[in-house]
């Protein structure tokens, strides 16, 4: 608090008053924290510390990361794990198109923005209407989630390695809960629920007949078929851009500037997300 306010101080204050920055920061904390669960589950799934860190640093999409370790934990092959993770990453391509249209990053920023394109950064950005705020929101959430997600992945991996028998601690139950938590915020309306039920059934039916990991890919094919042939309501509910988390922001944005803190459940569940995990 200097008596002689330079130009830096009002600028810094202004940055922190930006709703997009505040929301981005709170999402970063909420999402980063659950990197602990990814790190712990990953090492108990059979990956080592550096494989776990490689997923968080390089793949950096919570849903895909959980998918990869989920397939490995279930005894699936590396190629099946890759298939599940890659198919789940498709939505990031759609997010990339949206961010590209909004921010139009140039040069190296485009390549950095690509790596930071996940559920959280996209939703923070698209929830804003002012272009400057969209930019701030994207970079704050993207960088914030990246840093904290990796930090807490490392913590979780170290802790998970020290746990001993993962079943005794219910970590297989934690994985089930994590996937349901990633799915839940997307189940808005009847159609998404129907898709989830059909794909769950297809999975269960496939389990006895194909190698571990493959039932997930069977479900992906079924889901893609539904998407391909369904003509109903293409712009409602199913598209990642009207992801409930983003809607929340948009709705609440005009009314209060504490949106980020008011809605932790919406944020964290949407990785996927990655959020993929979200995360990221």
């Amino acid at each position: 608090m200097g008596l002689d306010p330079g130009k830096a101080e009002p600028a810094a204050v202004k940055i922190l008053q930006s709703p997009a920055v505040r929301i981005g920061l709170s999402i970063s904390v909420a999402t980063g924290l659950y990197g602990v669960s990814f790190g712990a589950l990953s090492v108990t799934s059979g990956l080592d510390f550096w494989q776990t860190m490689a997923l968080s640093l390089l793949l950096f999409s919570g849903g895909s990361q959980f998918a990869f370790i989920g397939v490995v934990a279930g005894g699936g092959s590396g190629v099946a794990a890759m298939g599940a993770a890659t198919l789940l990453g498709m939505r990031n391509g759609i997010y990339g198109m949206q961010i590209n249209a909004l921010l139009q990053p140039r040069g190296w920023r485009r390549f950095a923005a690509a790596q930071l394109t996940i559920d959280e950064s996209t939703a923070t950005s698209t929830g804003q209407t002012d272009p400057q705020e969209q930019k701030r929101g994207f970079w704050t959430a993207g960088i914030g989630v990246f840093v904290l997600w990796n930090l807490f992945t490392a913590l979780g991996a170290l802790a998970g390695g020290a746990l001993g028998d993962p079943k005794q601690w219910g970590l297989d139950g934690a994985a089930v809960a994590a996937f349901l938590g990633l799915l839940w915020p997307r189940l808005k309306g009847r159609e998404p629920v129907a898709i989830a039920v059909v794909c769950a059934l297809a999975t269960v039916l496939a389990v006895p007949f194909v190698p571990p990991g493959v039932p997930i890919l069977v479900a992906a094919v079924v889901a893609a078929g539904i998407g391909w042939f369904s003509h109903a309501r293409s712009d409602e509910g199913l598209e990642p851009d009207v992801d409930p988390y983003a809607e929340h922001h948009e709705q609440r944005h005009g009314h209060t500037d504490h949106t980020g803190h008011a809605d932790p459940s919406g944020h964290t569940g949407d990785l996927p997300a990655d959020r993929d995990g979200g995360t990221a």
Binding site: T31, L33, V36, S37, L47, A54, L58, F60, S61, G63, S64, A73, G74, S77, G78, V79, A81, G89, M90, N92, G93, I94, M97, N100, R110, F111, A114, T117, K167, G170, L171, D172, G173, V176, A177, F179, L180, G181, L183, I195, V198, C199, A200, T203, V204, V207, F209, P211, P212, P215, I216, A219, A220, V222, A223, G227, W228, L238, E239, S265
Partner: protein
Amino acid sequence: MNLWTWLLLSCLLAYAWKLLGYLVPASLLRNPRMSRIAGTMTIGLLASLTVVNAVATGQSLALDARLGALAAAALALWFRAPFLVVVIVGAAAAAGLRLLGWD
């Protein structure tokens, strides 16, 4: 090929998806079918991963403590618990049911 290979390939493909979004012409974004497939596939994969982790053991189906974790997690989500709490509730349910002898 070992796990590292598939893992690094997964990272490469994940980045390829993301970057693709920045490189393709914006008109593709208006193709509703592509967006719809990305949406349905995300839901389908997450639903599939949920049930695989809940009931599959290798190539057989098992009804064990993980089902309790699924129910507990659903309950937590219903009451709008944050993600990390949901995960902890799932772990606690599975661990608790095992303590009670239901494996």
